[in-house]
């Protein structure tokens, strides 16, 4: 019986989508590409826009890991979409190679231009021209398990503010024994670590690259200290063994098991934890620096128009709509995402849960590395950023050797273009 319903459902859906597709063909349409991680919040968005009549948006969702490959190939082959939402870290490279349409005029026309996420705008700007605007926001935070804190005798409303505190708390929680651990990070995931580990460095006054992205600043005390911190956490057994090989699969789910005391994570986890793990009593805090101070990775997507699009004004309409309160508050904030406009950060939904306000503020003050070789340097699973962390934390050669090796490799890559 269920099978028949399922078959009927799929046939029905097939016919329905064919019908919708046919209908969509009659109105002017623009193509819009997003990566699979965004699918959850983009699909309702596109449906709502299409329901208004007028220009129709054809959405294509692309597997996360292959997004850049597919997009770059399409651009190279002259088959790029009209609108693309891409991880903001890739904008510098795309802008530099002339693959994006100049949106400076659109940007200047926005009354709220100044309250658009500064990190997004910095990365979308190349040679004083704007090639994208923020679309979705993500910032990194420290999430911690309040129940485990209580059990370990720690104040559940007092998350760690320095590394010394982080280490102590991690050890105390680990001492609870069994399969309870103090800390977690995805040891084989490059992106996860620029997201949650780099802020530790930033909050201590250091950085991965210099401001122009032209030289690596890894061979510095702050970076070494941060790596040493992780190494001590690992050696003391406060981190589960699985972390070493986790390429991001368990980035969220590890903490969700309720057996991890603290972990770096993103704002997205707030909504998911509340919805799917309501019994987990968690708090969010800024990622701490060595001696106080805090920082965050300001991430998310920018939305832009690839060069060569023939539907620029229709695309710009959609983009403007995506930045409106209708979307940023009624769609994003309502479903637990952060608006990309600081003037909308404090809205009817964020008021319901102060954790959102924390996160929004973090994003405004957050940082993002600017580099034309972001993929090669930082995001690459076989690249020097992840290599450095793995060598330093899991390897036996020591932090200094790992740092030196990475610094050399960074320099080599930066100079090869």
């Amino acid at each position: 019986m269920k099978r028949m319903t399922l078959a009927g459902l799929s046939i029905g859906l097939g016919l329905l989508s064919a019908g919708l597709y046919a209908h969509a063909q009659s109105a002017p349409s623009v193509t819009f590409w997003v990566r699979s991680a965004d699918q959850g919040f983009v699909e309702p968005l596109v449906k709502a826009y299409n329901a208004k009549g007028g220009t129709q948006v054809k959405l294509t969702v692309i597997p996360q890991d292959d997004f850049v490959t597919k997009f770059a190939t399409a651009v190279a082959g002259g088959a790029a979409p009209d609108i693309v939402a891409v991880d903001l870290v890739f904008l510098p490279a795309f802008a530099k190679s002339g693959e994006m349409t100049d949106l400076s005029a659109l940007y200047k026309s926005l009354p709220y231009a100044k309250s658009l996420s500064p990190s997004h705008m910095r990365l979308a700007t190349f040679e004083n021209k704007v090639y994208g605007v923020p679309f979705s926001a993500e910032s990194s935070v420290l999430i911690y398990n309040k129940d485990l804190f209580k059990k370990a005798g720690l104040d559940p409303n007092s998350p760690p503010k320095t590394w010394a505190q982080l280490e102590t708390y991690a050890k105390k929680i680990r001492a609870l024994g069994g399969d309870t651990y103090g800390y977690y990070f995805s040891g084989a995931c490059a992106g996860c670590n620029i997201f949650t580990f780099a802020p530790l460095i930033w909050a201590s006054g250091g950085d991965v690259l210099n401001a122009q992205g032209s030289a690596a600043t890894l061979n510095t005390p702050q970076v070494k200290a941060a790596l040493s911190l992780y190494k001590r956490l690992w050696d003391a057994g406060t981190i589960p063994a699985g972390s070493k090989t986790d390429s991001g699969t368990n980035f969220f789910s590890a903490f969700a098991t309720g057996k991890i005391g603290m972990a770096g994570s993103g704002a997205f986890s707030i909504g998911t934890l509340k919805k799917d793990y309501p019994k987990l009593n968690f708090g969010v805090a800024p990622l701490p620096g060595q001696n106080g101070n805090s920082s965050s990775f300001a991430g998310g997507d920018v939305i832009g128009i690839p060069a060569g699009s023939k539907n620029v004004s229709a695309a710009q309409d959609f983009i403007k709509w995506a930045l409106s309160p209708e979307v940023q508050v009624q769609q994003f904030a309502k479903n637990g995402s952060i608006p990309v406009r600081s003037d909308l950060a404090s809205n009817q939904y964020s008021k319901l849960d102060p954790r959102y306000v924390t996160v929004s503020n973090l994003m405004t003050k957050g940082r993002t590395p600017y580099s034309f070789q972001y993929s090669e340097l930082i995001n690459d699973a076989n690249g020097p950023w992840l290599g450095m962390i793995q060598d330093a934390v899991f390897g036996s050669g020591g932090v200094d050797a790992a740092v030196k090796k990475a610094q050399d490799r960074f320099t080599q890559i930066l100079n090869s273009n």
Partner: protein, 286 residues
């Protein structure tokens, strides 16, 4: 009078036991991953992602499949796309390889071995190397973002193996058959279709099967060449459906997707394996 077989020729009961034990163990080893995957697909989504893996679900559930049905343009669309491309690949491959196999097997012409070698070289270049040039090429002839273009590429990559199979198959056909037909005044074409084809049908089915499997399971070309979501094939959708934020994986959906991808292949194979085996026999014997 036949002498009784010497003792050394009689199969021993110990050998029989060994046979069945070894075969059963091996069969279980080969079958287990597939069976376990499909079994997990039928667990409720939360239990499918349980850690450590739970062995017995509380109930059977189709929710993983339901998730896939609702996904994107609906799984029906992707299945149709995959089927369409596979059909084109199978028909095209059979057509080309039967013709070429026959040509190589039964005719002499200048440069024959060179041409054959060139055909075989297609095996030695990985698809990833010519991915971008192919993309540009397809775009130039307006077949990029077209399932037909995808099918043509698949056919090309099936050619070495298929032509090799058909060439061997035709070579194994006894010449008496052809000579008898020729004496009856057959043209080359009629000879091929009416006389030879039925004889090499097992090889043809084998070629078709392999073409189907290759096309049904291929992922990279389908992802890169198709620009529109509605034209994605099953493997691409599978990758989309099971990946979440920061590399998190929806295990239940993955197993359901794997089941949908694997089962048609398994079923078709089981139905046609009779031909398949004899196809390889007629295809490989020299």
């Amino acid at each position: 009078m036949t002498a009784p077989k010497p003792i050394s020729l009689r199969p021993s009961p110990a050998a029989g036991i060994f046979f069945y034990v070894a075969c059963t163990l091996l069969a279980l080893a080969f079958l287990f991953p597939l069976a376990w995957s499909t079994f997990t697909a039928l667990k409720p989504a939360a239990e499918a992602s349980a850690s450590p893996a739970n062995f017995w679900p509380s109930r059977l559930s189709l929710e993983n499949f339901a998730y896939l049905v609702k996904y994107g343009a609906g799984i029906g669309r992707y299945v149709l796309n995959s089927l369409g491309v596979a059909a084109l690949t199978v028909v095209g491959t059979i057509f080309l390889s039967v013709l070429a196999g026959y040509g190589f097997a039964r005719f002499e012409f200048p440069g024959k071995s060179t041409w054959f070698l060139i055909v075989l070289t297609t095996l030695m270049i990985p698809f990833q190397s010519i991915l971008t040039p192919l993309y540009i090429l397809l775009r130039t002839i307006h077949l990029q973002n077209s399932l037909v273009g995808l099918g043509l590429v698949y056919i090309t990559f099936q050619i070495p193996f298929s032509v090799y199979m058909m060439k061997n198959a035709f070579e194994s056909v006894p010449r008496e058959l052809e000579e008898a037909a020729l004496l009856d005044g057959c043209s080359a074409w009629t000879l091929l279709v009416r006389v030879m084809m039925p004889v090499v049908m097992p090889a043809v089915i084998t070629v078709g099967l392999f073409a189907f499997f290759a096309s049904w399971n291929e992922f990279l070309a389908a992802l890169i060449f198709m620009s529109d979501a509605e034209k994605f094939t099953l493997p691409v959708m599978l990758l989309n459906a099971q990946s979440g934020v920061f590399g998190s994986i929806n295990w239940g959906a993955m197993q359901a997707g794997l089941a949908i991808t694997m089962l048609p292949c398994a079923i078709i194979f089981l139905l046609l394996q009779r031909y398949y085996v004899s196809g390889l026999i007629s295809g490989s014997v020299k």
